[in-house]
Every structure is written in C-alpha cells, then in structure tokens.
Amino acid sequence: MLRPLRLFAAAATFLCLLTGPAFAEKVTFVVSDGAGKPVKDAVVMVAAGAGAPAVKFSWPLEMKQENLQFSPYVLIAPVGSDVKFPNLDKVRHHVYSFSKGNKFELKLYGKDESRSVKLEKAGIAAIGCNIHDTMVAYIRVVDTPYAAKTDADGNATLDLPADAKAATVWHPDALPAEVKVTLPAKRTAPVPVSLKVKSHAH
C-alpha cells in the first residue's frame, strides 16, 4: 500500500510543477464577528484552479448523532463523497435533509447503526432530525481542496497556491451567510475576516 501512495504523491508534485503555481503557501484566516469575538465553524474556501490537487480532506467524513446533537455542527465534505451518519445515542433518529440536490432521508435507525449518504452536489445540506427538532447540522459540500473550518479561536489555515486571488467565507448562522475576501499580495500576515453571526443553539 505504501508504494502507490508515494507514486500518487510524486505524481501530484509533478502535476504541481507542471501547472505553474508550484509553490504552496500557508495562509491563515482569522474570522471574527463584528464585536471581535472569534467565530467557530466558519468555512473558508478558495476556488480550485487548474492543476489543483484532488479534493480530499484530513477529517473523517461523518456526522455523528451524540447526546441528541449532531456532531460536528459543520462538516466540510467533498462533492460526491459518502458521509457516514453513525448513531451513538440510545434513542433512534430520523435524519433528513431537504436541501436542493442533496435531499435524503435516513429513516429511524438505532444505536450503533450507521448509514451513509452520497452527497452529489456542491452546496449546503442542512441536516435535521424529524424526531428531535433541536438537532441541526450543516454539511458544506465543496468541489475544491482549499477548504477548512475555523477552530474555537476563529483560525483556519489553508495551503494555497500563489495565484489564489480570493476566498469565500461561509457560516450557517451568519447574515449574510457568505462573504468574499480578497487575498493580499503578501501572505505572511493572517487574513482577518469579519462575519456577522446570529447566536445559535450550540
């Protein structure tokens, strides 16, 4: 199994060299609300240009149900990927999404059962439970490898190609939900992003 991975890495490096922006740079985004409070779970995305690597993330693609809550609150998933919905609660859930293109329904399933759903379309899937109205979560289905969500400090770091021009920052409870951020020429300093977030149940 090791070889094919190396090969894949070598091929990716090669591809990068071919496509020009061979030098990846780490860019940190700091998302805060108007009052300077860090905003957690904001998704920072930069559109993938030609020669971008395959869309793959380091976090597990799963939306757990735990303590009558979805976890995580926001999940970034590549388009076309299968997302698992493991039930860690003793009760049963009836998970659904009526979001356009990513509509699904996972009828009642019990503890330690897991279902998975293939998310076909880039966009937002708002996830609810028909039994528990307070259970809400969001999956941001993306078609770019340059996507990350902010931590508790509001920081998110992306390895971006040098020619990346702009980023999109989204949060389900923000109004407006998305803002565009133009990247500065010099990438050494963190990029500040301001997002107005309504307080939510979490």
């Binding site: 659904y96 009526f98 356009k100 708002a126 996830i127 609810g128 439970c129 109205d133 389900p172």
Partner: protein
C-alpha cells in the same frame, strides 16, 4: 285733603312680578318650592346617572377583560394548530422543497379541519401560498413582522376586514417558511362577545381612532358610554382597538320609572303649593287689601273705617287706622274752625265774615245788609307800646263792647286794627249818627292788666247794593270808608263809589303827587311855635298841603301812608326839606332867623342814605332844622334809628318827639331817644280846660321832659286860657289855632312883621 300720597314712583307692573301682593307671595312661594324640587330632582338624577354610568363602566370593563381572555385563548388555540401543521414532516418537506401543490392541499386540509380559520404559508422570501394554491407577495409590514418576530400574532387588516392571526416558523430544520392562521373578527365573533355581557353592549374593532394606550380607558359620547382596549397588531406598529359601547339611554332605562315618579311627585307638590300659597297669600293680603282700599278712599275724601276682625298685626293696624281716622276728623274740624277764627282774639276772622256775608246776601238779598267797620286808630303804636298780646286783648274788649252795644251783633276781627259787623239795613247803627253814637260809647280806654289803653275810633259803612259796581267787595268797601274817616279825622264815613274812584288810584295818586311837586300843587304851610317864656314866635312847623286840580284838597293822611307804602316818601321828604330850607333862607333874608321843623316819617329814620343826604343838605345851606319824629320811629330797628338820630344831633339837626301821648306813652322809648323837644299831642291839650284829670299828667310830663333835658311844646292850643295854664305848668312853647293856623310863608312873614312892629312900638 291732608292725606298725601307717598311720593314713591310706582314701577310698571309686570304680569308676574308686579301687581298685587297676593300674586307676588304666590309667585315667590311657588318659585322657591319649584327651585327646591328642581334641585332635589337634579341631585337624584345626577346620582342615578353617576351610579348607572359607573355600573355600566364596570360592566364594560369586565367585557373588555373577557374579550382579552377570549383573545389570548383563541390566539393560543390558533398557535397550537399552526404548530401542529408546522411540525408535520411531510408538510415541512413540501414547504422546504416548495412543492406548491402539496402545500396547498395540506393547508386546505387543515382549513377544513379547523372551522372559521384560514391557513396559509409564507416562504422566507415573502411569497405567500393560500389554500387554493395561488402565490402572492406578502405585504412588506407583514413580511417584516415575520423577519423580526419569531412568532408574530395579532390583528391584521386585509381588504378592510380584521383578522386575528398567528404565524409560526416552519423549520426543516432551517427556516423554510411560516404557517399562517387567520380568523376573521367578523360580526359573528363580535356577537359572541356581546352575548357574554350582562348588558346589551356593542363591540367592534377599529383602527386608529379611539385607540388608547390606557388599558382602563372609558369614554363618553353624547349618546353612549364606551370602553376601549388596545389590541396587539400583527405587525406591532398598527393602532387597533376593541371598542365596546353601551347607549346611555339603555343605561338610564331601569331608572326611568323612578324618575317619572319623582317628576310626578314634584308636579303634584308644586300644584299643591301654588294652591295653598294662594290661600295663605289671600288670608295675608285680604286685610292689607281692605286697608289699602280704606286709605285710597281716605285720599279721595271718603272716610271709611276698616273692618279687620283679626287680633294680629293687621288687626292692630286696622284699629290704629280707625283711631287715626277719628283723630283726623277732629283735627280737620278744628282746622276749619281755625280757618274762621282769629288766633289772637278768638273772634271770627275776615274769612268768616266774607263767608257769612255771602250767605246773608244770598239768603236775604244785597239790599238788606250793611257792612260796618270800626277801626282803632294808631293801633300800631298801641301795639308797639304794649305788645301784640295786650293789644289784641284790647281789641277783644272793644269787640265785646261793640257787640253788647249793638244788640249782640257778631263782631269779626277783619284786620289787625279793624272790627267788622254785618248788620240789617234797618239797624240804627248803620246810619252815620247811630254809628257815631256807638263809637262814642265804646271809645273809653280799655284796662289791660294795669295799663289803660286809649281806643281812638273811626268807622266806615258800606252798602253792598250801592257799591255793587266797585272792584272790591262790601267788606273792603267798609274798610276803605274807614280809611276815609281816619284820614279826614271824622268818626264815620260811608263808602262812596264815586269818591273811591279808580282802583288804580294809589298809583295815579303817586304820579300826581310827583307832578304836584314841580307844578306847584304841592306846597308848604307853616304853623308857628310860640315861645311862652319869650312871648314871641320861636319857630315854625312845616306842613304839607296838596291842592289837587280835580280832587281839591288832598289831606296828608290820605297820601302820606300811600307814599310810605309805595316808597315815594323819600322823594316827598326830600322835597319838603329842600323847600323848607329855601323858605328859611327867605325868612333869613327878611331878618328872621328861626328854626323850621319838618315831619320825618319813621321809615326815614332807618334810611342811612336819606340821613347822609339830609346832613349834606343842611351843612351846605347852613339851615337850622328840626326833625319831628314819632316814638314809633325807633321801634323797628332802635339801634340803627338811634345812630341816625345821634348823627342828626351831631350835625345840628334838632330832634323833636311828635304827638306825644297819642296812643303810646312809653317812657322807656322816650328815655332812649336823645331828643331836644317833646310835643304833647293836641288830644291832651284840647281837653285841658274841660276839667279833666289830664292836667296833672301834663304837668308831670312837662317836668319829666325838662328833667330829661327836653323843651316842651304843647299842640292844639286854641285859647288864651289854655296857653296861660301851660305857661303856669312850665311848658316852653305852644302851637295851635290860638296862635295861628298853618298858613303859607307869606302869611308867616306878615305875622312876624306885625309882631316885630308891635314890639318896636311897645
């Protein structure tokens, strides 16, 4: 009549306020009672009204509160229905996926289940789906309410209809829309509310007006009481109110019978009061009316006693009135009596004589009556000396004597000096000789107290028939006749119309007198004073003579009093003084420097300007004059008269007291007057030889005059015998016919010349 109407101006009487006292009293009582009834009824009405309104207000408040409870119940009900719908999984899916058809079927299904409610769905972008599947855009205000409020609820107005509405969000799990529930606040809903109240209220929902933030607001219009309560509007910023009203009419309705009863009671009471008020007023005013009538009758000369039998104030007033009426009659009789009576003597007066004479002449005819007037001469002097009371007494004595002598004929005192009689034409005393007898019989001095008063009498007779053409009545004719008698110094004179002549006589007399001063009609005669010690003429008294071209000789007694009355005496006196001075100068020219006496009226003795004139005249001419005055000259204003007398004395004018003893014999006056000379009246001297007791009196008078520094002249000396007597008694001079009658100046010159020749030969 003595009753004077009160000088109160009567106000014009109005029908209600003026007029009779009875009406006034009735009106005042009724008005007062009416006022009280009105006030009571008003108070009752107001308290009833306040009470009624309060209870209605309470009822309205509770209705409003009930409405509010109903409202929230209904809202809660609708909200729960909406929640049920919004929670339905299939419905949420339909909304989330904007499956319009499914949504429409779901809401129309819900509408069918919930009667009277309309259901709809709004999408987050403001599109609205109704039960029939049509899409419309929500009004901005409603959309805004959805965005701002989680679950808006309240009144919303659509097409002028009011709805109670709620909206609940539909989450799947994010907000995909709102479920709307509406319930129209129509007449049925309002009727339900109205039915809940105990009273017949009217409920309605209104926008804008009447909205009040005060939850307990009640209000009042002219016809109704109302309560309003603001209702939450769906959008939150619209003013919507529930208005509940109740007609005032209805509020007062339960009390109407009671108020009617009060009104009827009041009317009945007022009627009763007017009736009884009239009765009371009548009982009060009847005696007043009777009194009023009696007073009015009295005012028109009709005396009626008042009959008020009550023993209250009115009864006493009536008694007083009746008593007063009696007094009035007595007093009136006495006044009538007084009108006919001379207050000094108690004799009947001139008025009585006129009345009685008129009666006699009417009854018996003019020809049957004669009027006689008997006068006391110089009565003024008598009165001045002994006082009014005593003089009147003397007159009363005279009247009694006359009456006795004339067979009881009633005497009248017709003036201060005159006694009148009405006698039959056949009466012997109406003929001059008879009357002369009567006068002579009555002329003895009267004793008044200790004083003896001489009564020098003259009289006049008038025949009413003969004097019919005269401008004056028979009594005045007799008075005029007495005037003639007095002036001619005769005892009796009969009124002669021809002699009396023109009534304007006095005025023409004066103008004729003034003319006579210049045309020679008026002249001075002189009577010598003969000095008894020197046996020669020692002076003259100037006496006025008037030869009238028509009347003949006019005696001083008939024109001097007129001149005194009319004020011509000053001119006359000045004329006499001027002429006397001229004549004295004539005498002087002939070598006879003798004083001349001039009679000066008492009136002149109070006339300072005359005094100054006379003094000036005497000083400028160097004349030697003596003014003969009577004692009465100082009676009117003694102080002034004495001052003037002293003035004359100081400029060399001698003062002589004339007619001393005629009527007045007051030594007190005599003492005051600083006279040079006293002239004893001829009435004393003429009787001197008749052996009367006057001799002693004359002697004592002479002595007294001498003691007071006066020389004495006796007048009326007609015989040598008298002159001898007087000489013996010490009189200084004599005057009279024995020496010479008054004659013109020429005669005097002759007399003086003869005497002088006689002395020269002697």
């Amino acid at each position: 009549m003595l009753i004077r109407r009160w000088p109160i101006k009567r106000r014009p009487t109005s029908r209600w306020f003026g007029g009779t006292l009875r009406r006034k009293l009735t009106f005042i009582y009724s008005a007062l009672f009416g006022l009280i009834i009105l006030m009571v009824a008003g108070a009752v009405y107001i308290s009833i009204k306040i009470n009624a309104e309060r209870s209605v207000e309470r009822e309205l408040q509770s209705s409003v509160n009930a409405f509010e409870r109903l409202w929230s119940l209904s809202a809660a009900h609708m909200e729960s229905n909406a929640d049920v719908l919004a929670a339905d999984f299939g419905f949420r899916e339909a909304v989330a996926t904007e499956d319009i058809e499914t949504i429409a079927s779901a809401i129309s299904n819900a509408q069918g289940r919930l009667e009277g409610q309309t259901v709809g769905v709004a999408f987050p972008d403001g599109r609205f789906v109704s039960a029939d599947g049509t899409l419309s855009q929500l009004p901005d205000t409603a959309y805004q309410a959805l965005l701002e409020q989680d679950r808006p609820s309240g009144v919303v107005r659509v097409d002028n209809k009011h709805f109670q509405s709620v909206a609940v969000p539909i989450r799947a799990p994010v907000l995909v829309g709102w479920a709307f529930f509406f319930s129209e606040l129509d007449s049925v809903r309002m009727a339900e509310l109205e039915k809940m109240s105990a009273i017949q209220i009217k409920a309605e929902i209104r926008n804008g007006d009447h909205a009040s933030t005060d939850h307990d607001a009640t209000f009042r219009t002219t016809e109704a009481i109302g309560a309003s309560r603001q209702i939450k509007s769906f959008t939150g910023d619209e003013a919507v109110s529930l208005i509940i009203t109740y007609p005032l009419d209805a509020a007062m309705a339960p009390y109407r019978p009671m108020m009617l009863a009060i009104l009827l009671f009041s009317l009945f009471g007022a009627a009763l009061l007017i009736f009884s008020g009239r009765l009371v007023a009548r009982s009060v005013t009847r005696p007043i009316f009777a009194l009023d009538k009696a007073v009015q009758a009295l005012a028109s000369g009709n005396r009626q006693p008042v009959d008020v039998p009550s023993d209250d104030e009115f009864g006493r007033l009536a008694d007083s009135f009746n008593t007063m009426l009696g007094d009035l009659e007595a007093r009136e009789a006495s006044i009538v009596q007084m009108g006919r009576e001379d207050s000094e003597t108690g004799l009947a007066n001139r008025r009585a004589m006129d009345d009685d004479l008129r009666t006699r002449m009417t009854m018996d005819g003019d020809a049957s009556v004669r009027v006689v007037v008997i006068r006391v001469k110089r009565f003024r002097s008598v009165r001045a000396a002994i006082g009014h009371g005593a003089a009147a007494q003397a007159l009363a004595v005279l009247a009694r004597r006359i009456s006795e002598f004339a067979d009881g004929a009633a005497p009248y005192r017709i003036s201060a000096t005159d006694i009148g009689l009405i006698l039959d034409a056949q009466n012997p005393f109406v003929r001059p000789e008879g009357l002369r007898r009567l006068i002579a019989a009555c002329a003895q001095p009267a004793m008044i107290g200790d004083a003896s008063v001489d009564l020098l009498l003259c009289s006049g007779i008038a025949e009413p028939e003969a004097g019919r053409g005269a401008p004056i009545g028979p009594v005045d004719q007799a008075v005029v006749a007495a005037d003639f008698a007095e002036s001619r110094q005769e005892p009796v004179s009969v009124f002669d119309l021809a002699e009396y002549g023109n009534p304007a006589l006095t005025l023409s007399l004066m103008s004729e007198m003034l003319a006579a001063m210049t045309d020679g009609g008026l002249s001075l005669h002189y009577q010598p004073k003969f000095s008894l010690s020197e046996n020669q003429i020692s002076g003259f008294e100037a006496l006025i003579r008037w030869e009238h071209p028509v009347r003949g000789r006019v005696f001083p007694d008939s024109f001097i009093p007129v001149a005194e009355e009319t004020g011509h005496i000053r001119q006359l006196t000045e004329w006499v003084v001027t002429r006397a001075i001229e004549d004295q100068q004539t005498l002087r020219a002939k070598g006879f420097d003798l004083p001349i006496s001039v009679n000066v009226s008492g009136r002149q003795m109070n006339d300072e300007s005359f005094a100054l004139w006379a003094i000036g005249k005497v000083k400028s001419s160097g004349a030697k004059l003596c003014f003969e005055i009577t004692e009465t000259a100082v009676i009117n204003d003694p102080e002034k008269a004495l001052r003037i007398i002293n003035l004359f004395r100081s400029t060399g004018i001698a003062i002589s007291i004339d007619d001393y003893g005629a009527g007045l014999s007051s030594l007190s006056y005599l003492k005051q007057i600083p006279a040079n000379e006293l002239k004893i009246d001829k009435s004393f001297i003429l009787t001197l030889t008749e052996g009367r007791s006057d001799e002693l009196m004359i002697k004592s008078t002479i002595d007294l005059a001498h003691a007071m520094g006066m020389s004495v002249v006796a007048e009326g000396v007609e015989t040598e015998q008298v002159m001898a007597l007087l000489r013996d008694m010490g009189a200084d001079a004599a005057q009279g016919y024995h020496i010479s009658r008054p004659k013109p100046l020429a005669d005097m010159l002759e007399l003086l010349g003869a005497a002088m020749r006689k002395r020269e030969t002697a």
